[in-house]
Structures are given as C-alpha cells and as structure tokens.
C-alpha cells in the first residue's frame, strides 16, 4: 500500500517536473508545477506531516501558483523562443547538474541506518496528540520571535509588491 502510494505520487512529481521543462507555454509549465506541488503534499501526508501537507496545498498550490497563473494571464505571455544564449549555457550547466546529481545520489544511497517509512507513523505516536498540537506548541512558545519577524517580512513584501507593480503616474490619474 505504502509502496504503491509512494510510487504513484513520486511518479506524478517527476512527470510534472519533467513536463515543466518540456512545455514551451508558461501556463502549461504552471499547471505541471501545480501537479508537482499537490503530489508533494501527498508525500508529506505519507511522512506524517499532515499540517504541512495542507499548508502546501493552501499556500503553494492555492496562493502562490494562482499568482503565477494570474500574471501569465495578465501579461498574456506567449510561447517562449529558443535563443543562442540558452544553447551556449547548456553543455556546462548540464554537466554540472549531472555531476551534482551523481554525487547526491551516491551519498544518499550509501547512507545506512535511516528508519523505514511506514504508514501511520508521524512525529508522535500518542493516539490523541496530533501533529498540529506539537507544531503549534513549538511554534508559539520557543519560536515566537521568528514567527513574528516572518509576519513583518510578509507585510514588507506586500508593501514592496504594491509599490513595484504600481503603474507610474497612477496617483495623478486618480487625482484627476
């Protein structure tokens, strides 16, 4: 069961990621990225992180990717063109990535002593204590300051985004 679920959703993940690279239209790439993110959410569920799984869906698939598709629609971005610059960068980049992946893969496959992943095992095995309770206890006691700082960061990001994306001279036309 676990094996089947893992293979299916890891497969969706990889297929989505590869499709993201192959598609030339940005909206197709965005859709395949959504597939990657939702199947990652299922993998988080398999790893016993149910809050993160649903946060992944709400924040990434539901908010960030909606922004992406919104911008693609707004700018009416067409198919991308292949240019010389990309061709020149390819051989170096590809070899670097392949070497990187080979190193990662050997290290990961060599590592011994990792726990096996089983269904129904999360951060806690106590029957009445959920992942949410544990997370919120740590988040709102030990890590309260980082949490607050992040909220300030998001506020600044909102203001920055509004300031950047605002059309110049928008105020003047509004005054008229």
């Amino acid at each position: 069961m676990y094996l089947i679920l893992f293979i299916v959703f890891a497969g969706f993940c990889l297929a989505g990621a590869i499709n993201l690279l192959l598609q030339t239209h940005p909206i197709n790439s965005a859709l395949s990225l959504i597939v990657v993110m939702t199947s990652l959410a299922v993998l988080y569920l398999l790893l016993g992180a149910e809050f993160l799984a649903i946060a992944q869906i709400i924040v990434y698939a539901g908010a960030v990717m909606v922004l992406f598709t919104f911008v693609v629609m707004l700018l009416n971005a067409g198919r991308e063109e292949r240019t010389l610059g990309s061709r020149a960068a390819r051989p170096i980049g590809f070899t670097a990535v392949v070497v990187l992946l080979a190193v990662f893969a050997t290290v990961i496959l060599r590592v011994q002593g990792l726990n096996p992943a089983v269904l129904g095992h999360g951060l806690t095995n106590a029957p009445n204590q959920s992942n949410l309770v544990l997370l919120s206890q740590v988040l709102f006691h030990e890590l309260l300051l980082p949490f607050e700082v992040t909220s300030v960061l998001i506020l600044i990001a909102i203001l920055g985004a509004v300031a950047i994306a605002r059309r110049e001279g928008a105020e003047r036309t509004a005054e008229k």
Partner: protein, 348 residues
C-alpha cells in the same frame, strides 16, 4: 473489520454521498428558481411533474443531449480541463463533512463521514483555494475578452475574500481548540441553540463575515461580478456549451451547498438538535440514525433559502465597491473578531 470490508463500506459511503450531492445540486437549482419566482411575483417552473418537481431531470437530460460546441480559437487541453477542475473540487468537498455522530454503523464503523481527519477545516480551505483554477483557466483558455475579464475578476475576488473567509473561521477554531469538524460540533452541542457558535459562542460577527465572504467565494449575487450578464455576457463560461456549461453550473450550486454545510457545522451546531439535551434521548435506533441527518438537512436548507432570498433582493455591487468592502471592511473586522475572541477566551 477486515481490509475488504473496510474498502466495501468506504466505497459505499462515497457512492451514496456523491449521488446525494448530485441530487442535492439538481434540486437546489429548482429551489432557487421556485423561490426567486415567488419573490418576483411569478410561479417559477411548474409544468414538468407535480409542482415542477421533475424539472431538474429534464434540464439534466437537455444538457446531455445538446450539441457540444468547441470554438476553434480556444486553447483546447485547458479548455477541456477547466470544468473538470471546477466540478471535482466541489464534489471532493463532501468527503470531510460529518453528517452525524461517529460510531453509529456496524462494527463501530463511521457511517456519517467519509473521512474523519484532524485537519478537516483546513482541507475545506484548501479545496476552496484550488477551486479558483477552474474559473481562471476557463476564462483564459476561452480566448474571448469577456471570458478573460470575467476570470480575472473572479480570481482576484476569490483571492481577496479567501482571506476574510479564513480569518472569520479562526474565532471558531480558537473556541473549539481543534480543526476537526466533529470536535467543533461537539463543543457546540451541549445546550442546543444556546451553545451554538453564532449565539452562545458570540461569533455572530464571524458569521456575518463568513456569510459575506461565502457569497463572494461562490460568485453569487450580490457579488456575481465574474458572470455579470449585463457587462460580460456570461463571464468566464461564455464559450462553454452543453455538458461543459452544466459542469460549471453544477459546481456553482454545489459550492452553495458546501458553504451551507460549513456554516452549519461551524456556526449552527452541525447535526445536533437546536433543543440540546432538553428531551430525553429516544432508544429507537431508527430515530437515532435519522435525527442527525434531519437536523443537518434542515439547517443547510435554511442557509440555501437565505442565499436565494439575498439573490432575489439585492442588486449587484460595483467592482471597486466589492474590493473596498473586502479589504477595508471585512478584513479589519475579521482581525478585530480574532483579537476579541482571544481576549475573551484568555479572560475566561
């Protein structure tokens, strides 16, 4: 219970819930047409069957049999995908809605909810946020300026009101201390109406915010700007015909039911009776099985009638009014409600 039995019962539950949901959608359409008809001083559908009760079936058959037109300039894969996204997000919703208390079935099997999970409320919010894609992609792939305008309006409206919607639910979650929908209902059940979140829980402000945000989220009047027929023909589904149009239509009405279910669970005490434990519990299994469903359906129906009443009464907002209302009024009010609720809970 063996694995096979578990799979059998779960499949049965899914099948029953889906069929009931689809029938509910069909008859919500009829309810709306009848009620709006009465509000506008006419009869509404009355020809097919007694009181027009067979009208939804005829309508369904009609959408099946109509010619399926696909305009030549559309972006085909996404054009075909969009109605499916819309409808499936609507139908998955029912999976986390509990209709009754747990452990009522054979072998202490959970008869009244497809999956009882500890993040039920978050799943609902997640599905709401995924539902945006159906509308946005439909408008974009139709390659029609009215559709595109409709879908741009719709995406920004949905994103804006999702904030107010999510924040309005925080007060309820704070009171219950859980995201499990069953726990939230149980916490309101003790004294019937007096302990419902909307009355005894003092969450009426949250309910008001939720109501407004829900109207906007389901693209219903008075916030039905994405499909404002006097400005945008039909908004994002202008280019859709026959069954694909019917899918969007079903998604809209399904969302109304879903929103009603959530309001019932979070604010109106779910499946519990409004009289609480005033009457002694009857020993009949039949009544114990059907009383929860009866109360649940009554509450959802009342919510749907409210929806239709508002649609029949209020004119459409202007777009800037809509945005101002969401960001400058509902959002601060929701935050104030959270602060107030937490202070009150801390004081207790």
């Amino acid at each position: 219970m063996t694995l096979l039995e578990f799979v059998f019962w779960s499949l049965l539950k899914v099948a029953v819930a889906t069929v009931v949901m689809l029938m509910g959608i069909a008859y919500t359409v009829l309810l709306e047409r009848k009620l709006v008809g009465r509000i506008q001083n006419r009869w509404g559908p009355s020809r097919v069957g007694p009181f027009g009760l067979l009208q939804p079936l005829v309508d369904g058959a009609k959408s099946f049999l109509k010619e399926d037109l696909i305009p030549t300039a559309v972006y085909r894969p996404i054009y075909l995908l969009a109605p499916l996204i819309s409808l499936s997000c609507t139908l998955i919703f029912i999976a986390v809605v509990p209709f009754g208390p747990p452990n009522m079935g054979p072998h202490r099997f959970d008869l009244f909810e497809i999956s009882n999970i500890n993040i039920g409320l978050l799943v609902i919010l997640g599905l709401t946020s995924m539902g945006v894609y159906g509308v946005a992609l439909a408008g974009w792939s139709s390659n029609n300026k009215y559709s595109l305008l409709g879908s741009l309006r719709s995406s920004s409206q949905l994103i804006s009101y999702e904030l107010a919607l999510g924040l309005s639910l925080v007060g309820v979650v704070l009171r219950a201390g859980s995201l499990n929908l069953r726990t939230i209902v149980k916490q309101q059940a003790t004294l019937g109406m007096a302990t419902w979140n909307i009355f005894g829980g003092l969450q009426f402000i949250a309910f008001f915010i939720y109501l407004m945000a829900a109207f906007a989220e389901t693209n219903r009047s008075p916030f039905d700007l994405p499909e404002a027929e006097s400005e945008l023909v039909a908004g994002y589904h202008t280019e859709y015909s026959s069954m694909k149009f019917a899918m969007f239509f079903m998604a809209e009405y399904g969302n109304m039911i879903n929103v009603g279910c959530v309001a019932t669970l979070l604010f109106l005490g779910g499946w519990t009776s409004p009289f609480g434990d005033l009457f002694p519990q009857l020993q009949s299994t039949f009544i114990n099985l059907f009383a929860p469903i009866f109360w649940f359906v009554i509450k959802v129906l009342a919510f749907l009638c409210l929806y239709v009443w508002v649609r029949g009464t209020l004119p459409r907002f202007r777009y800037d009014q809509l945005m101002n209302f969401g960001w400058r009024f509902l959002l601060p009010l929701a935050i104030l409600n959270i602060v107030g609720t937490s202070l009150w809970l801390a004081f207790q």
